[in-house]
Subunit: 553 residues, 2 copies
């Protein structure tokens, strides 16, 4: 049994294209829109992208295909963390490419952008592609985190393209990878290489999103997988009635996943990093907020609950990020070696106490020892704290436990508090893509080839109107430069795609804000269950609550 | 949105009954089988169960219903940990009871067996029951871990039954709860209360299984939920190609869940506690076994893999369980207080080093500090180590890391080893029951009522031939005493249902054993995906690989 029954059944699924792409290759034409300008810093961006700035937005529509008929040789790259549906982007790209001209060739560069630089590739054929249709993972060619950003790398990339007579590169990645795709596109144009570059918006984190891109692919499936598990835990929680579950979910800095899971499952508490930052909340304030709810539920005899914690939240707590910055500074270089050489934890703590400022010492002292040690001992090769390794689900439950112990001593709290901890991340990044992600990704890939065929460069494959049935989706392309602004990164001003954090004035957060008190005090859990690929459309085909609310539904 | 789309759709599902129960209540008759005797210790068991021992096995078949027509008032109890499908047992019981006579009444005792003792109940009606059809969780009436085992409790239970004119109690539980059901049945018979007691085999752990009971309910859904997640992690692992994932799965002492997950997902490594015990493996041997595979994969450039670890494994490592026993003994009573009063971890370690025997000290010294502290600091109210809290997934990855570091120093290992950790338990106990569990549970409940109606007492509701389509399932009942033997528990000889551990001569383990080397050295991952409730039967209706292999399929 090497292929599961579900995988076998999913091979048979035909992803749905936007209506306008369903009439066959010969019936797809371009409708030009307005010329574009970047969302900010127009002059600077324009100066950096003289060949690719200001191009027109385009959409496809039904009509005579007027593209130049030439053999296309395309290379595709998967960049960064896995997201469900990546395989379908490749499949859609391949199908459009072959439908246009059976002589066309698709290269897959292996292990991420480094595959392009190292000329490590496979050439796709039907038999190989068919093994990956509608499946999760990036194992079709692997992925990697090498960044394509230097002129030297671009020159190598151009060489490799020339060698294989590659006419276009498709980069499937997040905000950074698509920023780099835009820079590479400009390089290719400036050097008259004849190579086009097209990006596709990928990330489960949901933070590659703007007025043009409604959603990055993978967000739907990953959030639904985590919501399945959170719903199951809620049901367990409400059956056993004796645990508080602290559930951390992936999503890097942005809280989109945590918020979507909260909208799907209606937990008692969900922290939103962007709100923590906006309100400049301290650890003590967050602990008070949670403990208040625990106490209120205990008064009603409910010594149980579910708390969702976004992966990046600790970095949004001002006093905590200051502490991290101070530790990084204090333990840099020689001092770090001296610190490491101290034989006991008590001596190490003494070193920190004398080296950190008073406020940092007081924050440090609040932390449970396990977290203190994660901050000081598990540093990366540059000596920095590894924020992603901080078990913030344990940090908050421990702060709450200490808080409640005080209340118990004071006689105001009489409940029981038994916390359990979970972290969901790798569980959802490679799930079989939901019907939505299977359709969306296939469409992104198919559409990417149409952008190539019509000669566009430096564009992001764009499919919109996503909260509607696929028939009504709108396919087209948007110059990546339109999404860019200048930001300070590693001490330099750089043109980048603006990362989308949760908008505290947006409909998804507003909905959550309006309901969370009710969800906190009562038990309003919703149980989404496992992602369904067959069955009623209401169960199989709806995308996220986030998108529905954003679209006013 | 309080009811998810899937929950709404699942309300419409009609669970499948065994063919012989499909002809309507008036067409179900009893076929008597052989008189039974217990699996061992026949004389002792017979002496302890004079009124309920030696009864006949029965099956139901199509034929004139000859049961006595009287009003039935039945009480139902959910006992112990949650398992998917518990709600359907109640629904099946309710439907058969009401179909037999609309005047019949079903009481649900709340919060487990304590609900019976405290006379805390609800009375079911259609509107209430309909909210719980085909859903996960035990929140329909809650569950609890109170054990019904003393004569005083039985007397209270009999009083409560008398008060409500209850004619039968159905206990839905694991091996302990069904052992207690048998003792309660004997009490009820001995005291001429007129109350029958019927058990139903529940537990995700899969360890309530014997020549009569093919599977406990919930095992199918829980194992599939964990397999979904492990498959997703495998796909991620094979896409990123840079982590070793150590995945602990629930299942108490027995490794049935770990083994089933391994059969479903084909990981690189799966420990089987029963094999560890049979081979008397040490921590060092297990660590060597894993490190050998890590090294072999690294030689082929594969610095990634997946290891499944059964929850209870550490207790099966003889030197580790000796260590725990010695720590429990050493820290009992006053000495424990003295230990707790020591201010530093170093002093505590010194205390242990001087108090434990040499072998225990050497095992203790192998452990990472986090695990050492879990052993000594997180003790239960009786001062005992809390084995279930030991993060064995971290224990093994840490032992392997230390092992590999030595090999690296010796120049034999040149790979990279980056471990990540997961524990799956609460994620699967309350999932929406699979079609199999929904059908099986509904049948168990329906069948339990038929046993009541025909006057049986001290029987377990039995549905067998489960690897075949439901049409071919066989419904009936088995005296619980048949499954019993005498075992030493807490210093006393007690009649208990024998717990089923993984049989190292059984087909599931043999299949695993025959394939594990190939799975270790290559990458043979299988991706089961999320449980499907709609769609092709091959995807939706198959039960576990374990059962299929046991049935010779």
């Amino acid at each position: 049994m090497n292929i599961s029954p579900l995988q076998t059944a999913r091979y048979e699924y035909s992803p749905k294209l936007p209506g306008m792409l369903r009439n066959g290759i010969s019936d797809i034409c371009v409708l030009e829109g307005e010329e574009t300008s970047s969302v900010a810093d127009q002059e600077k961006i324009k100066a950096l992208f003289p060949n690719t700035y200001g191009k027109k937005e385009i959409t496809f529509q039904k009509g005579q295909n007027t593209s130049v008929q030439k053999k296309q040789v395309v290379g595709v790259i998967l960049s960064g963390g896995q997201a469900p549906g990546g395989h379908n982007v490749v499949c859609g790209l391949y199908d459009a490419l072959k439908a246009t001209n059976p002589e066309n060739v698709l290269y897959g560069f292996k292990g991420g952008p480094s595959g392009l630089l190292e000329d490590d590739y496979i050439i796709f054929d039907d038999a190989y592609i068919d093994q990956y249709r509608n499946t999760g993972g990036f194992d079709i060619i692997g992925s990697g985190r090498t960044k394509l950003e230097t002129q030297e790398q671009f020159a190598v990339a151009a060489e490799v393209c020339k060698k294989h007579e590659i006419t276009a590169i498709v980069i499937i990645g997040g905000d950074d990878s698509n920023t780099n795709a835009a820079v590479l596109a400009e390089y290719m144009a400036a050097h008259n290489t004849g190579v086009q570059v097209i990006g596709c918006p990928k990330t489960i984190d949901g933070d590659l999103k703007n007025e043009d891109i409604e959603a990055s692919f993978g967000f739907d499936t990953a959030a639904k997988t985590y919501s399945e598990l959170i719903g199951n835990i809620e049901r367990d929680c409400n059956s056993a009635k004796k645990y508080w579950h602290f559930v951390k979910v992936m999503g890097r800095s942005a809280s989109h996943i945590a918020l979507e899971c909260a909208l799907e499952t209606q937990p008692n508490i969900c922290l939103i990093s962007e709100e923590v930052a906006a309100k400049k909340q301290s650890l003590a304030e967050i602990s008070d907020y949670i403990a208040d709810i625990v106490e209120k539920r205990a008064e009603q005899g409910m010594n149980f609950g579910v708390v969702i914690i976004p992966e990046g939240v600790v970095e949004f707590v001002p006093e905590f990020s200051s502490l991290i910055a101070e530790i990084n500074e204090l333990l840099a270089g020689k001092a770090g070696e001296a610190f490491s050489a101290l034989p006991t934890w008590n001596e190490k703590k003494g070193f920190l106490h004398s080296g950190l400022r008073d406020q940092a010492v007081s924050v440090f002292s609040m932390l449970p020892q396990g977290i203190q040690q994660q901050l000081c001992l598990d540093r990366d090769p540059h000596g920095n704290v590894q924020v992603s390794l901080i078990e913030s689900e344990k940090l908050f439950s421990s702060l709450v436990a200490a808080n409640l112990a005080k209340r118990k001593a004071a006689g105001t709290y009489k409940g029981k508090f038994s916390p359990l901890h979970h972290f969901f991340g790798y569980e959802g990044r490679c799930a079989f893509p939901s019907n939505f992600d299977a359709d969306y990704c296939y469409s992104l890939g198919y559409n990417a080839f149409m952008l190539i065929q019509y000669g566009f460069n430096g564009y992001l494959s764009k499919v919109s109107n996503l909260s509607k049935p696929a028939e009504e989706w709108v396919a087209g392309g948007m110059p990546i430069t339109k999404m860019m602004n200048m930001e300070r990164r590693h001490g330099e001003d750089k043109p980048v795609i603006r990362k989308a954090l949760v908008d505290l004035d947006g409909a998804p957060f507003k909905y959550f804000e309006a309901h969370r008190q009710e969800w906190a005090e009562n038990t309003c859990y919703t149980f989404p269950g496992a992602i369904q690929y067959f069955g009623p459309s209401s169960v199989c085909d709806l995308t996220t609550r986030t998108l529905a609310l954003e679209q006013g539904e």
